[in-house]
């Protein structure tokens, strides 16, 4: 994943996370049952998605900076002449 793509992924995850946190905060402040359901289901679902996207971005970033070994597909894509010596 290139640096610019990584940044775009993080920005997307940030938008999702903000919506999630607003839903959760709404469930605290509004006594209606629908607010509690939205906060605990949709809010937490979006929050989990945001964290998952962030985790994927972190792993991709660590692979890009060689702190983690490349994935199997990336190893296959690199031919013998392309490997670092």
């Amino acid at each position: 994943m290139t640096r610019s793509k990584l940044y775009r992924v993080l920005r997307g995850a940030a938008y999702i996370e903000i919506v999630s946190l607003v839903c959760i905060a709404w469930s605290f402040l509004d006594p209606h049952p629908i607010a509690v359901v939205v906060g605990m289901v949709i809010g937490q679902g979006l929050g989990a998605a945001g964290i998952l996207i962030f985790a994927i971005a972190v792993i991709a970033d660590l692979r890009r900076t060689r702190l983690l070994p490349p994935s199997h597909q990336e190893r296959e894509d690199v031919g013998p002449g392309d490997r670092d010596t």
Binding site: R3, L6, Y7, L10, R11, A13, A14, Y15, E17, I18, S20, L21, V22, I24, A25, S27, F28, L29, D30, P31, H32, P33, I34, V36, V37, G39, M40, V41, Q44, G47, G50, I51, F54, V58, D61
Partner: protein, 223 residues
């Protein structure tokens, strides 16, 4: 539906609410800063994003879950749907002699008497009960939100007969005091099997002033 008398989570659980809202606010502020300022992806930013994406949102979610789970067990939350106010008003009435009102006056049930009697059983009882509660929210908003309470109480009913296991959880049928009652002795097997309801009008019911008798199913017709 009126929320005038409803109590929000912040009123019931101020400390957990404060922790959750502070965590959420810090996370939102940090993420908004990241989106607006577009800082360079440095090592420090990575740590900040870890806090904003994981640490603070998880803190808000965990405390929110605990507070939300507790809040939805309170009778006041049940009363936030107007069709439930006749039931909750009866529960809160200190002069009522219905089972619901009597149990509400018991400290073990108190303001959670609706949940304590109507919750499900087993290891995943809380999750099953909460899932069923979401079904109630769906039913309310699709069928009963515009129906006056006095008409609604005549229309809706439990999905299935009230299980004696809810009563037997506290009022054991294995102790000698219970067996000393002649009616209990005579119907012991039927009571334990659920064929005779503890909350039937001929026994200890009605649980509520508007409770409806369930017709006996095929199992209850067996000898």
């Amino acid at each position: 539906m009126s929320a005038k008398n409803a109590t929000s989570i912040v009123d019931m659980h101020p400390l957990m609410t404060a922790v959750a809202l502070v965590c959420a606010a810090i996370a939102v502020a940090t993420l908004a800063w990241f989106l607006l300022w577009r800082p360079h992806l440095s090592g420090e930013l990575r740590v900040i994003l870890l806090l904003a994406f994981a640490v603070f949102p998880i803190g808000a979610t965990l405390t929110g879950n605990v507070a939300g789970m507790e809040h939805t067990k309170h009778r006041e939350f049940c009363a936030s749907c107007h069709v439930m106010t006749p039931y909750t008003s009866d529960s809160s009435d200190p002069t009522s002699i219905t089972l619901a009102a009597k149990h509400a006056r018991n400290e073990s049930f108190g303001k959670k008497n609706c949940y304590e009697c109507h919750r499900d059983y087993g290891m995943f009882s809380t999750m099953v009960t909460k899932w069923g509660g979401m079904g109630h929210v769906w039913e309310y908003y699709t069928k009963f939100s515009d129906v006056p309470a006095d008409r609604a109480v005549k229309e809706f009913d439990l999905y299935e007969p009230f299980r004696n296991a809810s009563c037997i959880r506290c009022h054991s049928t294995e102790i000698t005091d219970w067996a000393e009652v002649a009616d209990h002795r005579a119907a012991a097997k039927l009571i334990r099997r659920g064929s005779v309801s503890c909350v039937s009008r001929g026994c200890h019911g009605p649980a509520h002033p508007f409770s409806k008798s369930k017709r006996a199913g095929p199992r209850e017709n067996q000898p």
